[in-house]
């Protein structure tokens, strides 16, 4: 056998082996990887897996661990509306975080809280849980022009009137419960004709007089021991 023929056979053998190796490599598809965690993040070189390599629904939400995708990994417009299937909880947002294409729902800027202005509101004063009377501060957030107070403490309830009201505000208070509701005659805060231990259905009428921007005093206009 001459040397030329041997060289040629060697080249054919190497070529055949190379083709076999390529065929084997091509057969080794993702479906062949059935072990859990057999490919980790460290095995994938940056840029080797592109969005186009991922088939539709090939990555489920259960496969994305919490905090595994940071905002720096999402390019502009990379998440479309159709990919958002539920409410999103957003925290620590700045104006730059939200860009709205289209228009916000019109009603979102409006305060649509319902106020039942005709109702006679009754506010419960919780039991203090000890042998002393419960302490309760009545501020403008809880006040109605006609307000029933229901003291749930058998030792009675001491009501302090806040000063966050406006000049001329009128409040009619009545005791809607069986326990005593006490109003003190406090100089500069609640200027009453005297202390009033209100029994059930007793009423007290007050008007607010503003002293300055941040303070004022309630003035008793009438009371009734019913």
């Amino acid at each position: 056998m001459n040397t030329k023929l041997l060289d040629r056979l060697a080249v054919y053998a190497i070529g055949l082996i190379s083709v076999l190796m390529i065929v084997l490599a091509l057969n080794h598809t993702a479906s062949a990887l059935s072990c859990n965690n057999c490919v980790t993040g460290g095995d994938i070189v940056t840029g080797t897996v592109k969005a186009s390599d991922l088939g539709s629904n090939s990555v489920g939400s259960s496969e994305v661990a919490t905090s595994s995708i940071g905002s720096s990994e999402l390019s502009s417009n990379s998440v479309g509306n159709s990919e958002l299937v539920d409410d999103i909880t957003l925290t620590t947002l700045t104006a730059q975080d939200i860009q709205v294409s289209g228009t916000l729902v019109a009603s979102s800027i409006f305060n649509t809280d319902f106020l039942n202005l005709g109702s006679a509101v009754v506010t419960d004063i919780p039991d203090s849980g000890d042998i002393a009377a419960a302490e309760f501060t009545l501020d403008s957030a809880q006040a109605y022009a006609f307000l029933g107070l229901n003291c749930l403490d058998a030792d009675g309830c001491n009501v302090t009137l806040a000063e966050d009201f406006n000049d001329g505000d009128v409040m009619h208070v009545y005791n809607a419960g069986t326990n005593t509701v006490n109003f003190a005659d406090t100089s500069g805060v609640s200027e009453l004709a005297g202390p009033f231990a209100m029994g059930e259905w007793d009423t007290l009428q007050l008007i607010f007089r503003q002293d300055d921007v941040s303070s004022g005093r309630w003035l008793e206009t009438s009371r009734s021991d019913n």
Binding site: A106, I109, F114, L115, N116, L117, G118, Y144, A145, F146
Partner: protein, 164 residues
Amino acid sequence: MAAAILLFLLVPQTSAKLFNKDGISFMYSSVYVDQTVDPKNSNQLLRTTRKNPDGIIIVTKAESAKKAADALRINQLDYLELTANSRFKVTYKSFEKIETARLKISGYDLLTMSFSYIGNDNTTKIYMKYIMIVRPNNVYYVTVQSTSTQRLEADVDQILTSLK
């Protein structure tokens, strides 16, 4: 005839639609798109919104103010005004009262309160008309809100002139 048809085609028509439910009815602009009423408030009868400028109309039925007003020996509108004065300023951010008016339409007493406040985005000034309609057993609250005071007045006029 041709000129009349041409005029009809050229002049924008402001069509209106009818709200008629639970004993109260009025017309409002068909620009409004009716929305699902608040599921948490079974007494809400209408919730409808518009755009350009943004606006919303809500109609709610509530218990009469008679019980509370009688206890104070004042009429219902006086009571509603008293309560509104104390509640609006704590409910609406940067509340600024514009005017209060008493009306009588179709034999029923009405109280309207106009005011402005700062919207939920903490920026937009909202103009609001709170219409309280006293009926024998109920009070109906028709609230109209808009980002435009001119639009608000036009929409409120349409409601009040057709209210029954």
